[in-house]
Symmetry: C2
Subunit: 252 residues, 2 copies
């Protein structure tokens, strides 16, 4: 039997945001690999092997997964959110590129999921209702100069900007630098959303402005969204409010 390697997105957290296709792939796997917090969301069935590993070991995990699949096993690699967005799918294709022979006759495919920015947007309203971009703020894999340039161009393009990996213990201050760069282009009243741990018990979503954003706390589990010039708050008459970006630039 040919091996199988499916890279599966588990969504932002809750089980009811996991697609049936993703659940089915996990259920049928012989081996499930992934970063420990994602693997730990799942319950192995009898005979199934779970291998949890560290966040920094993405390529090694991908190579291990490919090797297991090449030996004929049904292998699943899990990511949080969508596996194609700053996650394991690209790592697996890097492994294929490094070792095209091991990929021979392995059935490789990706099962999409709900990525963090979609869940964060859903919680606060509809900030991604117009053109937008997604930037990872981690400079482990690219230069800070590239990040700065992209932030500036994204603000000039008036995209809504979703920032993945906005901060970690190793780099708590970069998000403030990012806000400073954006503030050279965007008005200080631009809406900024901090969406932390969306879908989890400790979910916390805050809305502020670019002028005040530097004071907000964020960590690896936070998704930051910076509005476009059109992004705004809307209120119901009983005082609840949401953030949205109109579909039309003409209705500003």
């Amino acid at each position: 039997m040919n091996g199988q390697l499916i890279i599966v997105g588990l969504g932002p957290g809750p089980q009811n945001w996991v697609t049936p296709a993703a659940s089915e792939a996990v259920g049928e796997a012989d081996v499930v690999l992934g970063y420990a917090p994602y693997v730990n969301r799942l319950t192995p069935r009898t005979g199934q092997i779970f291998e949890a590993s560290d966040n920094r070991e993405e390529l090694a995990r991908a190579e291990r997964a490919l090797e297991l699949a090449a030996s004929g096993q049904r292998v699943v690699v899990v990511s949080g959110g969508d596996p194609g967005v700053f996650a394991m799918a690209a790592a697996v294709y890097e492994a294929v590129e490094k070792n095209p022979v091991s990929a021979s006759s392995v059935d490789i495919r990706v099962e999409p999921g709900v990525t963090a920015m979609l869940a964060a947007a859903a919680r606060i309203g509809a900030p991604l209702g117009h053109d937008f971009c997604a930037i990872s703020l981690s400079d482990n894999l690219k230069s800070w100069a590239t990040i700065e340039r992209r932030l500036r161009l994204a603000a000039e393009a008036d995209f809504v900007i979703a920032l993945y990996n906005p901060a970690s213990k190793a780099r708590p201050e970069q998000i403030k630098k990012a806000f400073e760069i954006l503030a050279t282009v965007l008005p200080s009243e631009t809406i900024v959303v901090f969406a932390r741990a969306v879908g989890r018990a400790d979910e916390d979503v805050d809305v502020t402005t670019l002028g005040r954003a530097a004071d907000a706390l964020c960590d690896m589990r936070t998704l930051v969204m910076i509005g476009s010039r059109a992004t705004r708050k809307v209120q119901s008459a009983d005082g609840r409010s949401w953030v949205y970006t109109p579909r039309s630039e003409r209705e500003r």
Copy 2:
């Protein structure tokens, strides 16, 4: 009882890409509204009312949904993909903005879904593995000048670019203009993916280059992805190929 209005994403097509949360919301609704092709994917249970309407009537549909919810009903508005991405969620908050009184005491929320670019990316490999943007090419709701400017800035930022609504019967030629603009910044060998009807029976995914993209056919059901300078093909030793964007800009 207070009314409820849930804007639900049904994903790109197949039932196994619909989240359990989305299915549950639809199942519990008194009334389901949406563009006919999305409503027609669902089967009403006894006593449930389905209202299908035309694509161009988004704001009218949102206002109707809000009115029904204000009268105490449990209302679901369905979108394909994710409702927050160029879809009904922003239209509903526009309706709230126009009529804040009708939104009073209505429980309004969004159920996220798998948006088209994630499904298209999954089918071809991992083209969204690095920074990317999403642009709707429809100029019904914004000026063509804005679209041109965003395309140029996105190419300068070296984002992978996902184009929603790349063509319709009314505007079959704009996608060619878009490719011309991108070609002023990006090399002609830049990878372009045409992902048509992903997840449906007539799914068709083609990979070409920016230099040859103008010859490809696309329509309203196509998602077009233009690679960054780092996006490339990878092949297994037995000749299958995928498209991916490395996570790291240093590994080019």
